[in-house]
């Protein structure tokens, strides 16, 4: 099952390319010219977003490397305990929204310490598989636009994230 699904994942890019190419050939379009024209636009976008990305990376790193994030974890721990979330998952829950790579390191640690097939190990895996890096996504994606007032995007992202966290823990209890 897992191998079939991971093949789907690998096939995504080739299939997309085949569809686009075959349609273009069918339409007898100047494929190469269109491609080059488009890549120029892509590189321009990359250059345009660079300043914002650097600003966001620096801002997030400031909170992580100074230890401010850990401090926040300590503050919020009782709240999670009260809600019935295992203590071992708290740092993951708090780190996941800001740092994708950081949270993967943490999952690795949790899985090795408590066992991949233990309840905590499974819950941590499911959480990483189903919950996005909310703050990071908001910062990077809005960073690419001229928007400074994000309206309800933040609260919706956070609620969705919290629902995902609870759903992960509950699903792991039953499955």
């Amino acid at each position: 099952m897992a191998s079939i699904l991971s093949n789907i994942s690998i096939l995504f890019i080739p299939i997309m390319i085949i569809i686009i190419m075959l349609y273009a050939i069918y339409k007898r379009a100047p494929i190469y010219d269109y491609f080059i024209e488009g890549t120029k636009d892509g590189i321009k976008t990359a250059v345009d977003i660079l300043p914002f990305i650097i600003a966001i990376f620096v801002g997030i790193e400031s909170l992580v490397s100074s230890g401010a994030m850990e401090f926040l974890e300590g503050l919020l721990a009782p709240l999670f305990n009260f809600a019935g979330i295992p203590e071992e998952l708290i740092s993951l829950i708090l780190l996941r929204p800001v740092s994708g790579s950081g949270s993967l390191v943490l999952v690795e640690k949790i899985v090795n310490q408590y066992g991949a097939d233990s309840f905590v190990g499974r819950a941590a895996s499911v959480m990483t598989g189903s919950c996005e890096t909310v703050f990071y996504v908001l910062a990077v994606y809005f960073g690419a636009t001229s928007v400074t007032k994000v309206r309800h995007a933040l609260i919706v992202g956070l609620i969705g994230y919290i629902v995902g966290v609870f759903a992960s823990v509950i699903v792991c209890v039953y499955i």
């Binding site: 097939d117 636009t145 759903a167 699903v171």
Partner: protein, 191 residues
């Protein structure tokens, strides 16, 4: 707003590092992160160029129109005020890439979709309903195969590394439904 948040992040970080004696770590981290930011964008630039090229072929040949026409019901539900065909195609590509876990390609489509919606929003400083809904779906999008986590699990000696696939999809779907509904709720409230 960004002025306060960003300077707050930096100043709070420095103050905290000073109190806890982490100033050396802070400085290292800061310098590393700017380089990381540049590498990140350089890594994206190539993928972005290739996908923009391919999408341009799809656009010029009319494939995008075809896709946009056939996915109208879903798009209508999420974005009732309507968007241009090119933007819709980019949004759909972003969702599909996310679904298939095509990491950097998904990021590229999403950033592109956001900048296109920004144009349609006339570069306003206030986020449009469409942007919020796009992000709500994007942030909660399920991933068919969380391949990185599965790898980590199998390296840690799991007997069934893929056993988290179905639970992840269930949890992801719940989070997605909640996000969309809440986003719709806020849209009505703030209209």
């Amino acid at each position: 707003m960004m002025n306060y948040i960003w300077s707050g992040m930096l100043l709070f970080g420095i103050a905290f590092a000073a109190v806890t004696g982490n100033l050396d770590k802070f400085t290292d981290g800061l310098l590393n992160s700017c380089t990381e930011g540049v590498y990140f964008v350089i890594g994206l630039a190539g993928i972005m160029a290739v996908w923009s090229g391919l999408m341009n072929i799809a656009k010029e040949t009319g494939l995008i129109d075809l896709i946009a026409r056939n996915t109208k019901p879903v798009i209508r539900f999420l974005f009732p005020r309507g968007l241009s065909k090119d933007t819709i195609a980019m949004i759909l590509m972003s969702f599909t890439a996310n679904l298939f876990g095509a990491g950097n390609s998904a990021t590229v489509f999403s950033i592109k979709a956001m900048t296109m919606m920004d144009e349609e929003n006339r570069r306003s400083t206030i986020a449009s309903n469409e942007m919020c809904m796009f992000l709500a779906v994007n942030m909660s999008m399920i991933q068919l195969v969380p391949i990185t986590v599965i790898k980590i699990r199998s390296e840690a000696g799991s007997l069934d590394p893929g056993s988290i696939i179905v639970p992840s999809i269930i949890a992801g779907l719940l989070s997605m439904i909640a996000s969309i509904l809440i986003c719709k709720f806020f849209e009505r409230k703030t209209m």
